[in-house]
Amino acid sequence: MTRPATLPATLTVNGEARPLTPGLTLHALLRDLNVNPARVAVAVNDDFYPGARAPQRTLEAGDVIEIVRIIGGG
């Protein structure tokens, strides 16, 4: 998708827009968010990863990211 050059590049992380630093990887995003990768699962668009095995994937503008964990439920 083409963006007007004047708009800052953003990601959507758990439903909220977040500025994208050029070259940001999935690993670095989890670290920046202070999320323990071993405790979560991550989706980048339609790709799904255990947090602990998230690849050194470089994130791109417009990526939709979900970071989830297990909680009590029935």
Binding site: G15, V40, V42, F48, P50, R69, I70, G72, G74
Partner: protein, 266 residues
């Protein structure tokens, strides 16, 4: 009673009580209640990490996941597409390909969407999941879900968390009649007699969360549900008596001791 195991998703279980992990006041009580329940299948939910205050809530540490079958759910999903995404996240989060499929657009009664559930079930079964769909007690839908490759069908007893018990036993009977996969009554059971009723009718198992977690003594109630399930199953195997419109004396009619009755001619 001889061993009365049931097979679900290619695995054999001896307990017919499945338990959820929501609403417990603390992990200690939850752990004790799950132990008292004897449950071998335990349900969990998947939620977004709170990015403003991340931290793990310890559920993964609170249970021996080698000893129980983990059953992640898609609770909170309103559409088939949301459920597919959560199921795939659950699989990578847990390493387990079992999923309790919930597609629930309606927040007031938490009633499932049959069309979206079937569509999601077809996609997840094709993707290698062991799918346990939560549905209304609808025999036609249950057969379609079996045909879609679901490992079980989970008809509700009454709305989730309502504790109102089995409100439509006649409909459950139609689901049980001819079922080729285990039928697990899920949602709305309030007391052990509700669970017993479901098993007496022929359900293979029940899933209980709120009735245990919100009991004054969750550990005691978990034990009581385990007994209710065992009683119901034993009764189903033993075979109930026929129901009759009128009374039928249990004692012989002959040789009854009588006094003269002035109203009755000798």
């Amino acid at each position: 009673m001889a061993s009365d195991a049931f097979t679900l998703g290619g695995k054999v279980f001896t307990s017919r009580l499945m338990t959820g992990t929501g609403k417990f006041t603390d992990f200690g009580v939850m752990r004790e209640a799950l132990a008292a329940s004897g449950s071998q299948i335990v349900t969990v939910a998947i939620r977004r990490v709170e990015l403003k205050a991340p931290g793990h809530d310890g559920l993964l540490d609170a249970l021996d996941w080698d000893a129980v079958q983990l059953l992640p759910n898609t609770a909170g999903c309103r559409t088939a597409d949301e459920a597919l995404r959560v199921a795939r996240l659950a699989r990578v989060a847990t390493g387990v390909n079992w999923i309790k499929l919930e597609v629930i657009p309606d927040a007031r009664y938490l009633l499932p969407d049959p069309v979206g559930t079937l569509r999601a079930a077809e996609a997840l079964a094709a993707d290698g999941f062991t799918v346990l769909p939560y549905v209304q007690a609808d025999a036609v839908l249950a057969r379609a879900l079996e045909d879609a490759g679901c490992a079980a069908v989970m008809p509700l007893a009454s709305p989730i968390g309502s504790g109102r018990g089995l409100r439509s036993p006649e409909l459950l009977r139609t689901v049980l009649d001819g079922a080729r996969v285990p039928i697990i009554v899920d949602a709305g059971l309030g007391v052990p007699s509700d669970a017993a009723q479901a098993l007496e009718l022929g359900a293979d198992a029940v899933l209980v969360n709120t009735a245990i977690a919100e009991a004054r003594d969750p550990v005691g109630m978990a034990h009581a549900f385990a007994l209710g399930v065992q009683a119901g199953r034993a009764a189903f195997l033993a075979g109930r008596m026929p129901e009759r419109t009128h009374a039928s004396p249990s004692s012989p009619l002959g040789g009854v001791v009588r006094l003269p009755d002035p109203e009755v001619p000798v």
